[in-house]
């Protein structure tokens, strides 16, 4: 039921429109924020409450082939966390990789109304779209994995950069994706074809293609920026998780020069020290670079203690971690396109490396000088569940709480960081930036992340509370596309949400270049590859920036 609504007396945090805690009325009609509504519109009195735009998760893993493998893998985890249904809502299971319905409902209960699945193989796009259709309340989209695509690399090898750009645009259209994702570029071939090895250096040339990871990254940054896609390349750079990877990360960012680039889960890429030995923090170096380079956006990929599941297109990484944890392990190769590794995992306070990772994430948040370009994420479920966002917010907003938490983790790790010296506390306005306005801006979602007239009526109303974890765990009202989904903490109605994707123009002759390669090396027919419109539920094409 779409209704006209007026929210009065609340304190607004709307950084995009420079509103920092002032009392303003918000009027809602037909799913949008409007200037005014009839006087008989339903009124919500938000006296003593904080109003923010709905949260936007720029990087999570919630739908598609690898997520479903990880779900299937962990019945023991679902069993502990059932999610009962009602006459209005579907049931499901939670845990670290919740079922689709539960994922949507739980995002809503945190006040999040948009989330982006960060890694889908092109051939698995239909699967991701089917799951996203079954992920209620939130608006959603996904990033398509192109960084180890063999055909695209062949074009680069032959210097056909214009065709490369056209093919990238074709792939976005063929899969209904929102952005381009690169994961450990150049790493698939050694993994699949050279006895589970990996690429170690950003300038190491492949013997097959004569391309280095840097060549691939540079080409994608160029193509995506020229195409003017709403979001720049979303990059999981090489050497994730390895001691000393800071040099790779720095070189990767330098490759972008002044072009737009999004660095995914940068915490996992901010380690000093020597390969094979214990890492140390390189957060200062990374933060300094990002602070002084406005072309770079990043999400943190904060580690939170407790259960996690490693799920990544970076197959060598998952295998390396399997060597440590010996847990059940999934590897899944996708022809010509991607690798994938999955591993149930847990982060523990007393373990040096885990405590260091936790501290580095917090350092990055606290050292950042521009909250618009550092976005809150746990790389769900890699660093921890999205359900831990409220606790993470408290860690950022409450230095006494943070100090207390620091005491309970491995002190050797803490001593390798400057976390104890950082007294900064995030304000509500800054939280609104790193969870709403910032990600919406990085995604170029002009109708999201703010409360101005014309914005989508995706709104969260929190009771103001000293304990910020409590406050952000349970909004009193959640409004999605103008529908009152949660009222007085209670689910009132279901909603399907929209699929967000982009559709850059391309030269159709590129299809005939792709076809012969495809017919030779893929196992399905080329004409059955591109996803048709029947897989789009309610959807919106987000225009590019050109």
């Amino acid at each position: 039921m779409t209704t006209s609504l007026r929210i009065v007396n609340g304190k607004l945090y709307d950084p995009t429109n420079d509103i920092d805690g002032e009392s303003r009325d918000i009027c809602i009609e037909n799913g949008k924020i409007v200037d005014s509504v009839d006087t008989d519109a339903k009124k919500i009195d938000a006296q003593g409450m904080v109003i923010m735009p709905g949260g936007v998760d720029i990087h999570c893993h919630i739908a598609g082939p690898k997520v479903n493998l990880a779900r299937k893998l962990q019945p023991e985890d679902h069993r502990l966390d059932p999610h009962p249904g009602s006459a209005l809502m579907r049931s499901g299971t939670g845990g670290i990789v919740p079922s689709t319905f539960t994922t949507g409902y739980r995002y809503a209960t945190l006040g999040y109304t948009t989330a982006m699945e960060a890694a889908v193989t092109p051939i698995g796009a239909r699967h991701a779209l089917e799951e996203l259709h079954d992920t209620p309340v939130i608006d959603k989209g996904f990033y398509v994995l192109l960084g180890n695509n063999i055909f695209l690399q062949k074009l680069l090898q032959q210097g056909r950069t214009e065709e490369f750009k056209q093919a990238v645009a074709w792939w976005i259209n063929a899969t209904k994706a929102y952005a381009v994702k690169l994961v450990n570029p150049g790493g698939d071939e050694p993994w699949k074809g050279k006895r589970n090895s990996n690429v170690a250096n950003i300038d190491e040339k492949s013997t097959e293609t004569d391309l280095s990871p840097r060549d691939i990254i540079d080409a994608f940054i160029g193509a995506v920026n020229e195409l003017g896609l709403p979001h720049p390349p979303h990059l999981h750079s090489n050497n994730l998780g390895h001691s000393g990877n800071v040099s790779t990360t720095m070189e990767t960012m330098r490759t972008a020069a002044d072009r737009r680039l999004h660095m995914a889960h940068i915490q996992f890429h901010s380690y000093g020290g020597e390969l094979g030995k214990n890492p140390v923090s390189a957060a200062q170096e990374i933060a300094e670079y990002i602070n002084s380079h406005p072309n770079i956006t990043c999400d943190v990929g904060q580690v939170m203690f407790g259960k996690s599941t490693i799920m990544t297109a970076d197959a060598p990484l998952a295998y390396m971690l399997r060597g440590i944890s010996k847990n059940k392990w999934v590897n899944a190769d996708t022809e010509c396109e991607s690798g994938c590794g999955i591993l149930p995992f847990s982060y523990q306070e007393n373990i040096y490396v885990h405590a260091l990772q936790w501290a580095i994430g917090l350092e990055l948040f606290l050292l950042s000088q521009d909250p618009w370009r550092i976005i809150l994420s746990t790389d769900h479920p890699n660093g921890g569940s999205f359900m831990s966002y409220p606790k993470l917010i408290r860690l950022l907003m409450d230095k006494e709480f943070r100090k207390q938490e620091i005491k309970s983790v491995n002190q050797k790790a803490i001593n390798k960081t400057i976390l104890q010296d950082l007294d900064r506390e995030y304000s509500l306005n800054e939280i609104a930036i790193i969870t709403r306005a910032g990600p919406a801006k990085a995604l170029n979602l002009k109708h999201k992340g703010h409360l101005g007239v014309g914005a989508d009526a995706d709104i969260t109303v929190y009771d103001e509370h000293e304990d910020k974890e409590l406050m952000f765990s349970a909004p009193r009202y959640v409004i999605k596309s103008g529908k009152l989904i949660i009222e007085d903490h209670e689910f009132k109605q279901d909603h399907i949400g929209r699929l967000l994707h982009t559709s850059p123009d391309y030269d159709e002759t590129i299809i005939e270049s792709i076809r012969p390669f495809f017919e030779k090396y893929y196992s399905i027919e080329f004409d059955n590859y591109a996803v048709n419109d029947s897989y789009l539920h309610d959807h919106e094409v987000i225009p590019g920036i050109n």
Binding site: A63, V67, N68, R71, K72, L73, Q74, P75, H78, R79, P82, H83, P84, G85, A87, R90, S91, G92, T93, G95, V97, P98, S99, T100, F101, I123, G124, R126, H127, E130, E131, D134, I150, W191, K192, G193, R195, N196, Y319, K328, W329, V330, N331, A332, D333, T334, E335, C336, I342, K520, Y521, Y522, S523, I524, E525, D527, N528, V531, N532, S534
Partner: protein, 451 residues
Amino acid sequence: MSENIKTVKNATCTFCGCVCDDMILTVDMDEKRIIKAKNACVLGRAWFSQHTIEDAPAAMIDGQPVSVDEAIEEAAQTLMNARFPITYGLSDTTCEAQRQAVAITDFIKGTIDTTTSVCHGPSGLAFQGIGESTMTLGEVKNRADLVIYWGGNPAESHPRHFTKFTVTAKGMFTPNGKKDRTVVLFDVRRTASTPVADIFVQLKPGKDFEVLWALRALVKGRTIDASIEEETGVSLETLKDLVERMKNCRYGVFFFGMGLTMTRGRHFNSGALLALTTDLNEFTHFVAKPARGHGNVTGADNVLSWQTGYPFGVNFSRGFPRFNPGEFTTVDTLSRGEADAALIIASDPASNFPKAAIDHLRSIPVITLDPKETLTTKLAHVAFRTATYGINTGGTVYRMDDVPISLRPAFESPFPSDEEILTSLKARVHELVLAGKNQQSALKTSTSLNA
């Protein structure tokens, strides 16, 4: 043959788990039948030629023709009145229909299970315990230089597996097809597939686990006694030779069938094979894949997993999904006489379940959706005749390697699709659930007024 002939290119055969999507169908549009299926194997040709439109009512109650709407109402009432309703089948219909079926079962707090529980269910359990190193079939075509089949007979069950993906297929790093590969077959007897193998290993029936465990031991450098031959029928020499081949190949793959999963040991067997695959990754790249049977059984596993967290054998009686194979799997809920109504979708349990299960099925109201008359539709209280997926309907199916493919229907059926029937049934069931909820709250209000 009429003049009205249509050609459908890139159509998909949904008969087996290969889900070949390179069919060229010649369709007689007047007679509503497929007269030629180019590229189809012997099974596919039969699948396409036999799915014609039969003159039959779209819906029946107790054998009497009724309108579809009447049948929907009766089906909804039957399910709502049951205390332990079960949903079963699903492996021969689209994901779109499967999604509706899970929704219905969720709303009626029933139990849902698929044919996985009687084929690769043990592999599903092994997956949950061990994990799995796996791949899409194109990777095998492009890279595999060692292909090992275990407990399956693809020449007869998946006739195009060898040519399209695994043996003669030429790929990126296997330009000479079969010359670039070694093919090994493990089985308890010679079959039509045996001639394809470079190495045929005949083991004693029921000794799969022992052979797999010995291979694991050898891979890890342990000593195995020569008496293994007496125990399993396979000599130590053969095992050692195979282990060397496995460790030294560039890209190795196991395909395993019901000869492994449904013999003594079941999920221990599948688990041993998956664990061996994991172990081999210390030396080289190695993957494994269950060779799934029905056209969209893989889709059923996927849909149940994303909607409930579990792949089969799911019960909603407490208002949320619970998983317990042996308790919530259909053979068990029927054999123990627990189910009191059954919604059977695209499956014929009355023809292949144990006697106790079939006897119970006869004693409860059964609702069926099927394009054909079967032993199960004959005993049904409400029987819907539906369009055949892939021939008359579009939709999505998942190949045995989880690759989703869209169907291209050849001709229209006068019968509704499974998805259409289930969507209507879901809507009606949901109405009844909401009405029941309102009734309950009305009851509560009146009680409190009385008090």
